[in-house]
Amino acid sequence: MNLLFTLLPEQATEYAKQVDSLYMFIYVVSVLFVALFVGLIISFTLKYRRKSEDERPEPPHEHYTLELVGGAFLLVLLMVMFFWGAKLYFVAQRPPADAMEVLVTGKQWMWKLQHPSGKKEINTLHIPVGRAVKLSMTSEDVIHSFFIPAFRVKNDVLPGRYTQLWFKPEKEGTFHLFCTEYCGTEHSRMIGFVKVMSEDAYERWTNNLGDENETPVQAGERLFSELGCMVCHRADSGALGPNIAGVFGHQVELVDGTSVLADEDYIRESILNPHAKIVAGYAPIMPTFQGVINEEQLGHIIAYIKSLANH
């Protein structure tokens, strides 16, 4: 029932409060406009209603002062909304550097999640209160969208590339998690919960691993060696492939003289479609790993390469 009487849903992050302030601004502007327009319509209708069929009102005079002033005033209001919204959008687009990274894989019709400790879960996301969390998301099939109303955040989850989302929960509790991009038959059952717990409780939970005892970085390191990647991607001068240490987050020079930022999407492409961008000084000899490794394993290898970023 509380839905009927509350204007806005629960706020569980500082960002949510900021979004809500903007929301309330637009809301007040809208209510005032509706009141003004409807009020004018009603009062004009009452005052100038047709009393006799003989009425012949004067035609209006053509002058545009009212339009110019009204339009300019409106434009100013609109620009306030734009800049305010864009400012917050910037915040939402830039996760803090120290954010804890959780890997998210969407598939029809479930969310697969994996924590830095290696802990895996499905449809329920456990996170500690007060710590920035960044989700690195991809999909195994169609487009999904990851939405936590209480955090006011949402982003589509696409096959074949990585998108991200970040938030810093301020209070403990259980919040809805929805898929908001229509993804097929059981779209409405692709839902779950976000459980925000105390730092201690989270640590206990995330380190209670059972038989899954590898972190994503460790799994990536193991795959790197199992798949024979390190045969070529070595640190010494005779290596056939570029050294992966320290690559992530930096510009890479390519054969054709251009350069590209080594981000998640670039590394993903280099693994699945190695000849698309050839690093300067190396021959295009790497085989594709398309069909050899799955989305989760890709995420692990990327996590491993990321972990070497500062070497």
Binding site: N273, H275, A276, T288, Q290
Partner: protein, 219 residues
């Protein structure tokens, strides 16, 4: 008023000039929609060409540039004959109109024939790879998927162009029959003129397709 109207002036127009201007404006608007239609394809082509230059390069090398070039010449000539047919109609020369329409039909058919030869070579390859996008596509390169994308665009773009050619030839055949009956003369040649504009447009589309698909990827 309607008694004095010639049979080729439709009842809802006041005079021939109005009818002619309407037809001309109409075909130009239609051509704008055609530009937007092909524009969507060109946009897709450009996006993926930017993403996968290698595949686009290799893909265009697999096309038969000689047949493509011959077809370009054929189509340019067909535009010339089309223009002459319109001129024939404007000057009231029934024979000239009909003959040049026939020439345009023949040149258009030659274009489609050559296109069919190209398609045939792709559908029944003598090589050990198959360039028809879909389940059977195969090419021995790491960027086979991207090559497939190139050929998806090749077939969609040339296919859409070919459909426009087929429709154009259909209209030309109808005009040819009418021209033989003497329907068109110096006072009434709208259908020939607007079909001419359509034909030139289809020609121009090819003038863009040929370099984009066959030439630009080559070194």
């Amino acid at each position: 008023m309607s008694d004095s109207k010639p049979s080729y002036l439709a009842h809802h127009f006041d005079h021939l000039e109005q009818q002619k201007q309407s037809a001309t404006l109409g075909i130009w608007l239609f051509l704008i929609t055609e530009v937007m239609f092909f524009g969507g394809l060109f946009l897709g082509y450009i996006v993926y060409r930017g993403l996968y230059p290698e595949a686009w390069h290799t893909g265009s090398e697999k096309l038969n540039v000689i047949l493509g070039a011959i077809n370009t010449v054929v189509l340019i000539f067909s535009s010339l004959t089309m223009a002459l047919a319109v001129h024939g109609a404007q000057t009231g020369s029934r024979k000239k109109t009909a003959n040049f329409l026939l020439a345009t039909i023949i040149l258009g058919s030659i274009f489609l024939g050559i296109k069919a030869i190209e398609y045939h070579a792709k559908f029944f390859p003598t090589t050990d790879y198959n360039l028809i996008p879909g389940a059977n596509f195969s090419y021995p390169a790491a960027y086979a998927d991207q090559m497939q994308l190139f050929f998806s665009f090749y077939f969609t773009m040339t296919g859409m162009h070919a459909i426009h050619m087929v429709i154009g030839i259909g209209i030309l055949i109808w005009l040819y029959v009418k021209a033989l009956q003497g329907t068109y003369h110096e006072n009434y040649y709208n259908p020939v003129e607007v079909t001419g504009l359509y034909w030139h447009f289809v020609d121009i589309v090819w003038i863009f397709l040929f370099p984009l698909l066959y030439l630009i990827g080559r070194h």
